[in-house]
Symmetry: C2
């Protein structure tokens, strides 16, 4: 093992995302596809809505027949047949005719627009007065106005939001090809860690990292597999990691913040199947003692044991790798960054990227980011925080009053 | 039925959230509680971490023994017993002693701080040189530094994020009381609507709203129940609504944008069990023809049929009611509002609150909100959009270059 493995910058590490490829795809039902990552390009095989459709209650007309119409000088039109919702009108409309139509109804051949009912008056069953002119296609959605046949609608790698579910429904996609759900195994290590159901003896603490990491994995749309706690023992850790790599698409090992344990984890990761040590230390704080190995196409992470450090590393380093594996095109996006005003000076060491926890406060219409200070072993600091602020490696610190971009969490 | 039922403002409608109470609570396992709403206050029944813990690899010492220590003038200390991870040291430390300790280890009685290993040199097995002084509690998390016994940690109504799962784990909460998951029934109405698996005849379209609304409900953390499509028929709609109210905690009826259908929906809602019509029209655009009734403790909504209108009404009106029912304290929060620069002028009618769809674009470090224009029947406009911008009822419009707050979606 090389003890002089060079600490990598955050940028270096992000450059390694490309070494991992996306999950295979599978076909699921449309409701199951909600929130998943699309695994196919979607092209419209038909026009949408597919017919000329009214957006108002009123009368379908030829717009030219209404030109110049006003309260003082209404246009008189003959009432043609009635248009039933969901039916094709069985008649064509001539220039001196109007046909009553409801919102969502199909315009008859010959009609190009709809006069709102408020601007009409039925004189008798056969005649209607029109008080306002309409332009061609007014109060109408045209046949291909939403999407035209052959048009590319969605690209593979898009997250299926509610509106994407809607357009897939409109196109009759009862089944959709999506990337398979990524499973992420979590192993907690440390002789001092006990399961949640145990009362820790003095000197021991309950396993927080398995639960914080499981929550983060679920939030990202992947599936956490909690594999439990492994003692500080090379053979046990090797067995647990081998099992994890075999069963999951990514592995997180948390704990082992002591130098001895880190060396130990590196050794174990170096002995896995088809393995390569990619990262041994990142110039970020918290989170420096982070390890990344590749076993086949699977990223295997050694995360710091401190609960805050492990969460921060997940948010800023692990998540893009997870998104890439999940098939998401926008894997590099940190999500919405909320601008807020820093409430106090924050110092930062040059040569490393710092992530500070902040509480977001609203005062008189302005958002403020109040640094939450405290050691990275204190879960309290994350409970009090709503976000992280990045301080770049070439920045010495940030001044009170500076506008910072908060990564929400 | 009162045809002159007054259109309500958005504020009026929000004032009605208090008429509905939260779901009952239930007890689930800690992993199941992830993302749910806490149904009990959590008080620390113990100190956390519960013992004095090292945050570094090094030597546990009495800090006073290191005062004045430097490279030139190191402090010489005797090496006391070794501290095994997860064990209570079986010795106390005197002022001339130091004990090797790993990150996470428990300090022996008598020790109040840790010297980092980098600032020490083992002279022999029995003696260590200390090159740097430490302050009391330096490189240590004290016994009650995270939480003190008796301290209130979390309030009922809090959404359980990953960090809240962590603190619940630390306290040994294998089971947690949360609000029951809210079920929301969705009914699509309209003779022109066909299920996704059907090829629509001319004049008909596939059911988008059931799918967009199901996605929005899932995103909110509730459970959608798609009850299918009901034809424009009073008896069928009454039967479907009665069934929905019996089985779900909230009901969404979408469609019926024609005046006739709206009257019809109001009639049906007025005939439900223990019912009261609360809202018949809201001064928002899109979304004016929105209906809200209370059947027992269950909100029953008549949403507009246009796919964009139904989504917007869900985001800005229905969601706070849903969150209140889910037990969430922050039900009124629209979530993170992202400031962005408007790329063009947008006009707005006074006397109503407008919601415009915007695409978010980043250019040279600035975020821009580009209005997505188009009729509210076009799902395309939602696929192109990443957010909504609210234009207040007393505002005539917004100018290009104005900073607007985008509600992401």
């Amino acid at each position: 093992m090389n003890h002089f493995f060079k600490v990598k910058t955050l940028e270096d590490v992000m450059g390694m995302v490309g070494r991992f490829s996306a999950m295979p795809t599978e076909t699921v039902t449309l409701p199951q596809a909600s929130g998943r990552i699309l695994g196919q390009d979607i092209v419209a095989h038909q026009d949408l809505p597919g017919f000329r459709r009214s957006t108002m209650d009123g009368y379908a007309v030829q717009s030219a027949a209404t030109f110049g119409a006003s309260e003082a000088n209404p246009a008189w039109l003959k009432v043609a047949g009635t248009i039933a919702m969901g039916e094709t009108p069985c008649f064509s409309l001539t220039s001196d005719e109007a046909a009553p139509i409801s919102t969502g109804g199909m315009l008859p051949d010959g009609a190009d627009s709809v006069v709102m009912v408020e601007h009409t008056e039925a004189v008798d069953a056969a005649t209607v007065e029109i008080y306002k002119s309409v332009a061609p296609l007014q109060h109408v959605v045209d046949s291909a106005e939403d999407y035209r046949q052959g048009q590319e609608i969605l690209k593979a790698g898009t997250r299926i939001r509610p509106q994407e579910s809607g357009v897939l429904a409109a196109l009759g996609k009862t089944h959709v090809t999506v990337f398979k759900q990524t499973t992420v195994a979590i192993i907690s290590t440390g002789d001092e860690i006990v399961p949640v159901e145990e009362t820790p003896a003095p000197g021991r603490i309950r396993d927080m990292n398995s639960h914080t990491l499981a929550g983060l994995i679920s939030e990202a749309g992947a599936i956490p597999l909690q594999l439990g706690i492994v003692k500080d023992n090379r053979d046990d850790l090797f067995d647990a990691c081998s099992r994890a790599v075999a069963m999951a698409d990514m592995v997180l090992i948390s704990g082992g913040s002591s130098v001895g344990m880190r060396d130990f984890t590196v050794e174990v990761l170096s002995d896995l199947v088809d393995t390569e040590l990619l990262v041994h230390g990142i110039s970020i704080s918290p989170g420096k003692p982070t390890i990344l190995a590749r076993s086949g196409n699977k990223p295997v992470w050694g995360l710091p044991g401190h609960v805050v450090s492990a969460m921060v590393v997940f948010k800023v380093v692990v998540l893009p790798f997870l998104r890439k594996r999940m098939g998401e095109n926008a894997w590099a996006s940190p999500g919405a960054l909320l601008p807020a005003i820093l409430t106090r000076n924050v110092a930062s060491a040059q040569g490393r990227t710092d992530f500070i926890r902040v509480a977001i406060q609203e005062k008189e219409g302005h958002l403020y980011a109040a640094p939450v200070l405290g050691k990275s072993g204190l879960i309290r600091t994350m409970v009090m925080a709503q976000g992280l602020v990045e301080i770049g490696e070439n920045v010495e610190g940030l001044d009170k009053g500076a506008v910072v971009n908060v990564r929400c969490m």
